[in-house]
Symmetry: C2
Subunit: 403 residues, 2 copies
């Protein structure tokens, strides 16, 4: 029997207990032994909860209990969660987490600590919720040189963009709806400004490079400026708009990584990932393209991923499974120097000036539109594009990158 | 250093050697040691080939060489491949294969043999080519009770159906084109009659159940009867036509498994899997739906999957990794008793009789069609549906299941 402790009895924490209990037969079989939730750490009490008796308030009780081998850190944040994780690993207790903020910030350090103490720090649930993506990158695509990873990594923004497209509604209205339905938090900044997606693409990029990609250096733009009118033009061009986290290995020590809304062709598999679903699109040098799709958030999908890590720890007791993510930092390429086409929506009155500034642009025709006009520019560096836009003053109403 | 032998220097075999050489740095790093291709077994000689010196003709040379730890069986068939695999496993040499026919036929027996000799029988490449799906089922979805698996599992038929849809062309014309382009074999039966997909869904179903699903008992229908006219109606109904391998766990010992063309909604993620791409759609009781998408065939994608198995063997030298696939047979549910809606295309002259036979059907309107008419029937058992069709004589031109 292996004893497990759960740190944090919130949404994911209660899901972890539920998955271990509901799928007990399967989980125990795959672990090759019985898993037992011995402690649940939370500041609150849970009178009447079926696991009330397991709830404790003192972390040291877990730390000092040598019969606890695996700890699920599902409390979030980078304060106590960081300290608790370090202490567990130092005692040789494996830690499984859904805490992408902590993984993005201290991943390689914690992985190293786990190796030093013959245990594991696993984080399948930190990216893509229940979608298996960390383990496929570590265990399955081992014969591949991964060249690029592009993902729809945040359920809230994907839900908002999908709704805007379907209903022709504006950003503010849909955000409000999403908050009312529980699909967006009352403080939605981490989602809509792209910070959540940024942490996830930092983790994926680090695994792709085998070295550390600093999430704080990744260019990040949210979706707050996207309008219903932009979707009209996207649709007319056979495209849609998605918030993408993308990463491309330029050489062994340089990566181009960014988070931003993109116009993406309706022919691309990522374009059909709607609502709260997430997907990660991976390009390898032998396999070519592959994609991993599923529920990127939610209590049970996320908990299922945490428990799959617990099973992995149970199978590898006393042994660190391989994960290549060194502390060495890779260089992030300057986004301003990258080349691409852009979608621009401009005041109809300024069409001539815009067409002069962006020779070789293709007009997108939306029937009946009189006040604005849409174009897809020729390929240009970001720097040149934004310089030109600045020169056009208020003529440019929207600018969105093309994937 | 670990010595590897490759059995069969055909398309996949030469790909395996290429992947190990081209991605040497990555593959050796992930294996935690150097992989060396020591022998290539083939009946032919390959004068001028860079690996000419490694080509041998006598399997016993591999079997008797105690320095060979891992063998890639990429020769195909169930004769010599079966004997060679058994002999290797009996000597404690791990075997990695792309041979779905052999895995479907003798999987549990060979897995047992591997466990008995502390080595591994791995078959990631047998389903979905380069798409990681076997390992995610075994290692990632370990906290899930898998309820259903549905896949587009054959690249040739998916290419043909995608072409028929795009070009409005007939089956025979597209098959001929596909043969000319190398996307279909000169004898295409295994693909177009669904036998290849059948073996793959048998393997996936067995892993879902943890027990053996006999591929020969799986109801299998190919795509030869699908017409360009059927696609017209499918499109008008917001659907497309795909050859699906599907499997649903009814209870611990009963599975409903079948291979057949289905009408599938354009809203379903599987509907956008086009051309030679494959995808496997998995429904778990906690995670809900997830999908794994990529190149289902081809030299390098398939070889990449074989080499990922080699890496897994290298990491687990002397230890069998877990795979739950017992020899115990599960019962296959009678497809005739399952309930679903059907698409039917009928002679326009017989509309009245058909509408009488299938009350509650919905007509699909294709503008300008006069000679035929399309319907989606109410939900019925397959048995009842086919009985009624038989009673209608030649009135029914096409019948395709609805997913």
């Amino acid at each position: 029997m292996i004893n497990v402790a759960v740190l944090g009895y919130g949404t994911v924490g209660s899901g972890v207990v539920e998955v271990i209990e509901k799928n007990k037969e399967m989980v125990d079989k795959k672990s090759a032994q019985e898993l037992n939730v011995k402690y649940i750490l939370d500041l609150r009490d849970f009178p009447g909860d079926p696991y009330e008796a397991k709830v404790i308030h003192d972390f040291n009780q877990i730390l000092e209990d040598d019969t606890v081998d695996i700890v699920c850190e599902v409390m979030g944040g980078v304060g106590a969660a960081y300290q608790f994780t370090r202490q567990c690993l130092e005692r040789g207790k494996s830690v499984c987490t859904s805490n992408k903020e902590l993984v993005a910030k201290h991943g390689p350090e914690l992985l190293k600590l786990a190796v030093e103490h013959n245990c594991n720090y696993l984080f399948e649930a930190s990216v893509g919720g229940g979608i298996p993506i960390i383990r496929p990158l570590n265990y399955s695509l081992t014969a591949e040189k991964i060249e690029a990873i592009t993902g729809i990594l945040n359920g809230t923004t994907n839900y908002i963009l999908s709704k805007m497209e379907k209903e022709g509604a504006g950003f503010d209205d849909v955000l409000k709806q999403a908050q009312e339905n529980g699909y967006a938090e009352s403080n939605p900044e981490a989602d809509i400004e792209g910070h959540d997606a940024c942490r996830k693409i930092a983790i994926l990029s680090s695994l792709m490079m085998g070295k550390n990609v600093d999430s704080e250096k990744i260019f990040t733009e949210g979706i707050t400026k996207i309008t219903a009118d932009d979707f009209l033009y996207a649709k007319a061009a056979g495209m849609t708009i998605k918030l993408l986290g993308m990463s491309r290995a330029l050489d062994e020590n340089t990566v181009l990584a960014m988070v931003a809304p993109f116009l993406i062709s309706r022919e691309h598999p990522l374009s059909m990932v709607n609502d709260v679903f997430n997907a990660v699109f991976v390009t390898g040098n032998m396999l070519g393209d592959s994609m991993y799709y599923g529920r990127g958030a939610g209590k049970l999908p996320t908990a299922s991923a945490v428990v799959s890590d617990v099973v992995d720890c149970a199978r590898h007791q006393g042994k660190s499974v391989m994960c290549f993510w060194d502390e060495e930092e890779v260089t992030l390429a300057d986004v301003a120097e990258t080349k691409r086409s852009f979608f621009i929506r401009v005041n109809a009155d300024d069409k001539e000036a815009v067409e002069k500034a962006f020779p070789g642009s293709t007009a997108i025709i939306v029937e009946g539109r009189k006040t604005d006009a849409g174009y897809i520019t020729a390929v240009t560096t970001e720097r040149e594009f934004y310089d030109k836009c600045a020169g056009l003053g208020n003529a440019v109403l929207s600018k969105i990158r093309l994937f």
